[in-house]
Subunit: 188 residues, 2 copies
């Protein structure tokens, strides 16, 4: 497996950024290689391309599978496993967002919920709980909204995003409409 300089720099970048993104170098590089590869690759090809040990590749692929970021397939007459990334970048983005939410925010929400159930034993605790509650409400609102948005179809999502902050005007408009009709389009 010869990687061109272009692919090489893309792969290295993902390796270096890996630590900032909470994955390791190996995993980042494997993902990058698969992402730009024309065809699915097997573990030996990956190991050779990136000069990693076969076992390291195996562990990296397992990690990527746990993130649901790679697809595995077989070719008839070939017992080896071939890996690739989904074609649709929006689908990838959604998967990534879901997994990050699960790993990086859910545990915190759980902890905060538990902390808020405790009876405060002092002024300091009362204050701490109030702060945690603020944090909880913010995270809850943002993540719920995010997953709402994520379930919209890509077309709509793109339209919404391209609209940018102009959505504000639309919002103001519907608000004045709802005042006229007396109905409120917001939840609750």
């Amino acid at each position: 497996m010869n990687t061109t300089p272009l692919v090489q720099s893309f792969v290295s970048h993902f390796g270096e950024m890996g630590s900032r993104w909470g994955i390791n170098r190996t995993v980042g590089q494997i993902y990058a290689l698969l992402f730009v590869s024309e065809k699915p690759l097997n573990a030996d090809e990956i190991a050779e391309s990136l000069s990693f040990s076969r076992s390291n590749v195996s562990m990296g692929l397992k990690e990527l599978e746990s993130w649901r970021l790679v697809k595995m397939q077989h070719y008839p007459g070939d017992r080896r496993e071939y890996f690739s990334t989904p074609d649709d970048v929006w689908a990838i983005f959604k998967t990534l967002a879901e997994e990050r939410k699960k790993r990086e925010v859910e545990p915190t929400l759980t902890m905060l919920r538990a902390a808020m159930m405790e009876k405060p034993g002092s002024d300091a605790e009362r204050h701490a709980q109030a702060r945690m509650s603020e944090m909880y409400q913010l995270i809850e609102l943002v993540t719920t909204w995010f997953s709402d948005i994520q379930h919209m179809d890509v077309e709509t999502l793109q339209r919404l995003m391209r609209l940018g902050s102009q959505v504000q005007k639309v919002l103001q408009f519907t608000q004045s409409l709802s005042k006229l009709t007396g109905r409120d389009s917001e939840r609750e």
Copy 2:
């Protein structure tokens, strides 16, 4: 500095989650402690509360300052520096999002832009470039939208978020309006 069990568990959680969030245990714990503290703390108080060395606290605070997540202040007649987190959780959220964008996505966008300028030397490179371009466009759209949204005032932002995916209906409605009037509210 005696920390109550409630604060203790909040602080520990931030320490443990630290690695998933791309910060280290120390930094996570210092931030958590400051976040729930009733009043600003100086470095010695933090070091004692968390049983870290004074120098470790100094480094942690420096890191938090580089993220713009802590405020420093002085009290008259006291030369020590006192640290706290901003009160407004929305402001904190915005700062965090900006910094993460700067550290975790900008470098990738730069790399992708550079890669896309290269002349492809083979079919493999042409394919790789096409993939990078898809990635670029997605990240560019999402981050631009995110920073657009971020600049909206908190009131509007909250209203938008509470609306959730119902924004879809509003969008559809304005789209049919723009068809009637022949004007398009989208950019470009």
